[in-house]
Amino acid sequence: MSDLRLSGISASHPRTPVLHDVDLAVPSGTTTAVLGPSGCGKTTLLRVVGGFMRPDAGEVRLGGDVVAGPGTWVPPERRGLGYVAQEGNLFPHLTVAANITYGLPRRERKDAARVGELLELVGLPGDHGSRRPDQLSGGQQQRVALARALARRPRVVLLDEPFSALDPELRVATRDAVASALAAERATVVLVTHDQAEALSFADQVAIMHEGRITQAGPPAEVYRAPSDRRSAVSLGEACFLAGRTGDGIVTCALGALPVPGTTGTREVELLIRPEQLHLGADGSGGCPARVVRTEFFGHDALVELRLETADGPVLRARTVGPATPAVGSRVAVTVEGRPHLIDR
């Protein structure tokens, strides 16, 4: 397994630019998730890496070798990549075993032990080798597609929304099976997805993509806690923003003066507060008084919409664990847990 490095990649469809100056480094043996809404260019990025599309500018390096760049072009079949698409794209005229061994040299294709190993790796019973793709469920097809890609021991595995066509329950099970298979192979992986939970839980590094640019990349917890801008913050999950002004170790905002160690000087900022950071206490228990405007119940937890009873009364959203959800109209006291993140204005 080797690392993947993109530098200054721009690409376009006929007359429409899609990627602008994209840089991304995926260290060997790690997983990077590219997260973005549909149409942001993430599939195009994967196709450029895969060799199905030529970039207009920039360079793609695989383990130090330039595979696409000025004057260099390595066709997809010689890049040694594994590629799993949204629909799996199993060959319908071949059995599962023939699909898995498709990319192997001819003499290795009859190796039943290898097929069994690969099926086991992706968590499928060994007797599935003789089946036809149309006899498998969607999740099983995706696992076979992964086994097919891994059979050649690719340098980098590219996953293009491989779970989005599956229903929610199957999605989690398939994702777990795929994740453990990839971990067992110590694969270098790029996953493209529009599902933030998938990106955060699956990857060692999350890269946020917006309108053909990567706006931020880093470890999931880091990117979630400290996004570089409002858009990144929202794309990773529910967020509240409050206007504030920094002071000496504090930030003053509608929720009062909150301690933020290390701040100095006075500047206008925006505070990012995640709903789970807001704690709702009984009325009069200390904290900002607020009234519950609306609740959204999800079963395991709930979102509570609050209006602060201060002068301009901004609306906040708090996450509560199911049974503790206050009734609409009731008064609560709001306190902030943990350090709020500051975004410069």
Partner: protein, 486 residues
Amino acid sequence: MLPLLVVAVTALQSGPAEAFALVWRPRVAELLRNTVSLVVLTGTLSAVLGVGAAWLVERTALPGAGLWRVAFVAPLAVPAFVNSFAWAALVPGFSGLGGAVLVTTLSYFPFVFLPVAALLRSTDPGLEEAARSLGLGPVRTFLRVGLAQLRPALLGGLLLVALHLLAEFGALEMLRFPTFTTAILDQYEVAFDSRSGSVLALVLMGLAVTVLTLEMLARGRTRHARVGAGSARRPTRARLGALTVPALLATGGLAVLAVGVPAWSIGTWLTRTGEAYEPVVLGPAVRSTLGLALVAALVTTVATFPAAWLLARRRSRFAVLVERVTYLASSLPGVVVALALIALAIGYARPLYQTAPVLVLAYAVLFVPRAMVTTRAAIAAVPPELGDAARALGDGPLRAFARVQLPLMLRGTMAGFALVFIAVSTELTATLLLAPTGTQTLATAFWSASSSLDYAAAAPYAAALVVLSAPLTWLLLRSGREEPAT
């Protein structure tokens, strides 16, 4: 496109004045009257029979729907000239406009039946139910909603009927009912007069283009697809009640006329083969027919593939132009294509005149669209992403094509191959004109036997032709069944 030009040039070689004189003759007026009345009468009857039969089979609780479906597609397995032989051999003195209309209707109404039945089977009854709920009775519902929905299928079927009628030679010649096509062949065979033949061909071509234009105008730009979401339901079948027996008599009668008569007639004459004046030698005719059909089908399929690929994958203006031109060429009657190729061969490639390659070329020009439709569908059904998947697994573009795309496209392409094969093996008109001297196909051998009224000798060839075309019925039934799924 070439045939069009060649025929026009030959016709006008004599100068516009003379060409005008050749067109403006009482003989041409008679041919025009005959051709037009045949097209109008047979077209109307085919529409009535085709739609009626399709409705009874697909939308009513008529017993034995599956059986009737086969019976109403089966006439396509009997070439029209064989059908006309069967009637003429059974009913002495059978000829003229009445006979021509009867035989051609029975041969060609399946062209209307097939698409209309496929549409009736797949359309959502929701629209008709909506009309009923808005206060229309069943008959007015059918006229105002049902018929409007059927229009594209009905028009497509009628277009096929009309083009076949314009091109029909054997059936009409046998019934001594002269049209442009038969006149052109007579002209050519009797007088070797390519000029007046070409002039007639030009008029015939004009008729074909008129038919195509009329169909296009009638089709219009109206939207016939379902508007709105929601899954389509299976149509409900009307109960016939007391009308069951009359309906069964009607479908039974049609089946007897369309399938029973030719089968019985050929069968009886088959038992009297011993009385033939000429000895029947099926062997060489079968061999040359199969050989020609095999080569022509192969050439046509291979020639069609690149254009079909372009149409399915990169629908450019050029690709669409290529498609239109091939359709136009094939809507030209076989005589016109044959005459054009004769003119070309005599003018520019004398040694090729009356050789197998020219004949194969004529077949290819005539039957490319049959291969086109199925090949294109087969290519479009294979997602291009599969090629990408194969590339990612280490195959170069050519290997990926050979290992993944080609095997997946093979079935549809084979169906196109089969359609061309069947069409070639029963082709009469172009074969009569272009076949190398001494080469007899089943169709031409049948033709020479039946035109010398040696019915007993013709029967075995007729039977062989029917056997060869029989798979067509199966292919058409299968594609008709698959249609609603797409």
